[in-house]
C-alpha cells in the first residue's frame, strides 16, 4: 500500500505526457491511486507530488476539494443513493432510511465487516430512473426497498462480479499509440496551426 506500484507508475507517466502542464494530470493520478488501494493514502499523494512536480500540500489541496477521493479506508462497496430533487420526489429519503436501517450505518458510515459504505449523494444524472443509486459508480435504476435488499444479498453472495472494486472507474483506458499522437499543444509553442495559416484565415 502506498506509492503507485511499477505498473501504475508507467500509466501515470503516460497520462502526464498528454498534458501541456504536468499538474493537469493530478486528478487522473489521484484516481489511479484510489484504484490501486481503494482510497488515497498520504504516501500516494507524496509520490504523485513528485511525479507532477508540485508540493504534497498542493496535491492535498486538490484532493480534498473533490468528493470522490477518500482519504481514509471505506467499504468494499460504496453505495451512493441519490437524494437530488427528482429522486426526492420519488422516495429517496425512504430508500436511504431503509438502507441505513438494514445495514446498521448512518450518514456515510461503513458496516462493521467493512463491506458497505452508504451515503446520500447529489444528482447522479439518472433523474428519469428515480429513485436510483450507484454502487462503486455502477448504476441501479428505479430501486425499491426490495430491489435494494436483493442487490445487497447478490453482492454478499458474490453474484455481482460486474461491479468492480471501489476506486476502479473506467475498465477501458485511453491509450494513444505513439505514432498516432499529435502531442500536447505546449503553451510555449505559440504557433498558428498549419491548416489555418494555409487558408490564410484566423477565424
Amino acid at each position: 500500500m502506498a506509492r503507485l506500484n511499477a505498473d501504475n507508475e508507467r500509466i501515470a507517466h503516460e497520462i502526464i505526457g498528454r498534458y501541456p502542464r504536468k499538474k493537469s494530470a493530478l486528478i487522473p493520478l489521484l484516481h489511479l491511486a484510489q484504484e490501486q488501494d481503494g482510497w488515497v493514502t498520504d504516501e500516494a499523494m507524496s509520490h504523485i507530488a513528485d511525479l507532477v512536480e508540485v508540493t504534497p500540500a498542493e496535491v492535498l489541496g486538490t484532493c480534498s476539494f473533490y468528493e470522490m477521493f477518500k482519504r481514509h479506508p471505506v467499504g468494499d462497496y460504496h453505495v451512493n443513493i441519490c437524494h437530488g430533487i427528482a429522486c426526492h420526489l420519488l422516495g429517496a429519503d425512504e430508500l436511504i432510511h431503509h438502507a441505513e436501517e438494514t445495514l446498521g450505518v448512518k450518514g456515510g458510515g461503513t458496516t462493521d465487516d467493512g463491506r458497505f459504505t452508504v451515503e446520500g449523494v447529489e444528482c447522479i444524472a439518472a433523474c428519469t430512473e428515480a429513485p436510483c443509486l450507484q454502487v462503486n459508480y455502477r448504476f441501479a435504476n428505479k430501486v425499491t426497498t426490495q430491489d435494494f435488499d436483493a442487490l445487497i444479498a447478490d453482492i454478499r453472495s458474490g453474484a455481482r462480479s460486474d461491479i468492480p472494486p471501489h476506486g476502479t472507474l473506467a475498465k477501458t483506458r485511453q491509450s494513444i499509440p505513439e505514432e498516432r499522437a499529435a502531442g500536447p499543444a505546449l503553451v510555449e509553442d505559440a504557433q498558428e496551426p498549419a491548416w489555418l495559416s494555409r487558408n490564410g484565415s484566423d477565424q
Partner: protein, 436 residues
C-alpha cells in the same frame, strides 16, 4: 415537416457507440466533408445554424467561437461533460451511446478554429461514460480520425479524455478549467467573461457542452440553414429534455426546439404521459435546479429561450422536474436549496454563508422550530446574494451558483404561503430574529 433526430439518432442502434456502428450510420462523413472546406466555411455553417449552447446559458456557439483573440496561440477546446445539475440527464447518455458523434463534433470545432488540443472532461461519477469514450477514442486513433495527420491531412489534434472527481461547481466553465489545471475547482473572477479570451493555461479556450458539440456533425452534413429551418429562431434545431418526477412516463426526449410546449412534453402521450395516478400539477422546474419554478399557467409556453426568459425562468440544461399535488413544497424547496448549499465552493461569502443559512432556516421550519420572522429572514438572505431578487438575477457573487439557491425560495414563498404557515403554526406576534 417531420423533425429529424439530430443528436439521439443512434440511441436505438445496438452498436452505435462503436466505430463500426457509427461509420455504418454515416459517421465521420462530416469530418471528411469539412476537410474539403476551409476552416472559415465550417465556422460559417455553425453561425448560420444559430446553434445555442446546451449547457445552461444558451449562448450561440457560432458567436462564441468568434471570440478567440486573433494571433494568440495555442488555442484549446474543453468539452463540458460534467453534467450534475439536478434534473439533468442527457449528456451522460450521449457519452455512453454515441461517443463518436461527440468526438467528430470536437474535431470539427478544432478544425474550424485552429484549436490545437481538445480535452474531453467527463464527470467523475460516470464510469461507464468514461469507458465508452475511452474505447471510442482508441478506435478513432487507430482508424486515423484523431491524432497526428488526421485522414492523411496536415490537421493534427489530440483528443484527451479527462475526468473529474465529484464537484458540481466544476461544471461552471472557469472552474472546469481550474480543475483541468489540477487545482481546486473554484470559478475565476470575471472579466474576462469568456475563456475564449483567457482560458486554459491563460490561452484562448472554447468551452462547449457535450450536447452542443454533438449537433455539429449534423450541421456540417446538412448545412447550417437546414438546422436553422428547424425550430423557432433563435431557438433552432432540436433539443433533448429529461422529464422526471411525478409523470407517468419519465424519459429523455429529443423534440423540436422553440415550438414544442411544456404541455406537450409533460402531458403528451409520446412524452411524459401526464401526471401520475391521474393527479394534478402543482409546480414544475423548467430548466434544472437553478431555474425559477413554473406552474399550471406556464404549461402552454413553447420551449423557446426568449419566451421562457421573459416569463421569468430559463430552459437551462433541459431538465424538467414535475411535482404533483402531493408534493410538500417546503421540503422540495429545502431539497434544492440544500443542494446549492452543499455544492457552494466557498470562494465568496454571500454564497458560502448565505446558502448555508438558507438551508438551516428551511430545515428548522420543517423541524417545527421555525418562527414567523424566518420568512422575512429568508428573503433578506436571498437579497444579500441576489440584490432585488429579480430575473435575470443580479449577483453579489463570483458565479451564478449563489443566485441559483434563491430561485426555489423566491418561486414558492408567496404562492405557497399556506404551506409555510402550516409548518410555522398560527401567525403570532413578530419575534425578534435570533440567529443561532
Amino acid at each position: 415537416m417531420s423533425i429529424p433526430k439530430i443528436t439521439t439518432a443512434r440511441w436505438d442502434v445496438e452498436d452505435g457507440h462503436t466505430l463500426a456502428g457509427y461509420e455504418r450510420t454515416g459517421g465521420y462523413s462530416a469530418l471528411k466533408k469539412a476537410l474539403e472546406m476551409t476552416p472559415a466555411e465550417v465556422h460559417e455553417e455553425v453561425k448560420t445554424a444559430s446553434l445555442l449552447g446546451r449547457g445552461g446559458a444558451g449562448f450561440p456557439a457560432g458567436v462564441k467561437w468568434g471570440f478567440c483573440p486573433p494571433g494568440v496561440w495555442p488555442r484549446y477546446l474543453v468539452v463540458n461533460g460534467d453534467e450534475s445539475e439536478p434534473g439533468t440527464y442527457k449528456d451522460r447518455i450521449m457519452l455512453e451511446r454515441d461517443p463518436h458523434q461527440l468526438i467528430e463534433g470536437c474535431l470539427l470545432a478544432c478544425y474550424a478554429l485552429g484549436l490545437s488540443q481538445c480535452f474531453l472532461y467527463v464527470r467523475g461519477e460516470m464510469a461507464h461514460g468514461q469507458e465508452r469514450v475511452a474505447a471510442a477514442l482508441n478506435e478513432a486513433y487507430e482508424a486515423g480520425y484523431v491524432g497526428k495527420n488526421i485522414l492523411g491531412t496536415e490537421v493534427s489534434v489530440d483528443v484527451v479524455l479527462h475526468w473529474g472527481a465529484g464537484a458540481y461547481i466544476v461544471g461552471e466553465e472557469t472552474a472546469l478549467i481550474e480543475s483541468l489545471e489540477g487545482n481546486r475547482g473554484m470559478p475565476r473572477l470575471k472579466p474576462p467573461f469568456f475563456p475564449a479570451a483567457i482560458g486554459l493555461y491563460g490561452k484562448p479556450t472554447i468551452v462547449n457542452n457535450v450536447e452542443t458539440l454533438s449537433n455539429i456533425p449534423w450541421i456540417i452534413n446538412n448545412g447550417g440553414q437546414a438546422f436553422a429551418d428547424i425550430g423557432e429562431a433563435p431557438s433552432t434545431g432540436t433539443r433533448v429534455f429529461a422529464v422526471s418526477g411525478h409523470v407517468n412516463n419519465p424519459g429523455v426526449f429529443e423534440v423540436e426546439f422553440g415550438t414544442t410546449t411544456f404541455r406537450d412534453l409533460i402531458m403528451g402521450e409520446e412524452y411524459g404521459g401526464g401526471i401520475r395516478n391521474g393527479g394534478s400539477l402543482k409546480a414544475f422546474i423548467p430548466g434544472g435546479a437553478s431555474a425559477p419554478w413554473f406552474f399550471e399557467e406556464h404549461l402552454d409556453l413553447p420551449l423557446e429561450k426568449g419566451t421562457v426568459d421573459r416569463a421569468g425562468s430559463m430552459l437551462g440544461s433541459g431538465a424538467i422536474v414535475v411535482m404533483d399535488q402531493t408534493t410538500d413544497i417546503v421540503k422540495a424547496c429545502h431539497n434544492v436549496v440544500r443542494f446549492f448549499s452543499r455544492e457552494s465552493c466557498g470562494k465568496c461569502s454571500p454564497c458560502r454563508e448565505g446558502t448555508s443559512w438558507l438551508e438551516k432556516i428551511l430545515q428548522r421550519i420543517i423541524d417545527g422550530n421555525g418562527r414567523r420572522a424566518d420568512l422575512a429572514l429568508l428573503m433578506d438572505v436571498c437579497d444579500n446574494i441576489s440584490p432585488g431578487i429579480a430575473w435575470p438575477p443580479k449577483q453579489t457573487t463570483i458565479c451564478p451558483l449563489g443566485p441559483s439557491a434563491v430561485s426555489p425560495i423566491a418561486s414558492v414563498i408567496e404562492r405557497f404561503a399556506d404551506e409555510f404557515d402550516a409548518y410555522l403554526g398560527e401567525p403570532s406576534t413578530e419575534q425578534a430574529v435570533e440567529v443561532r
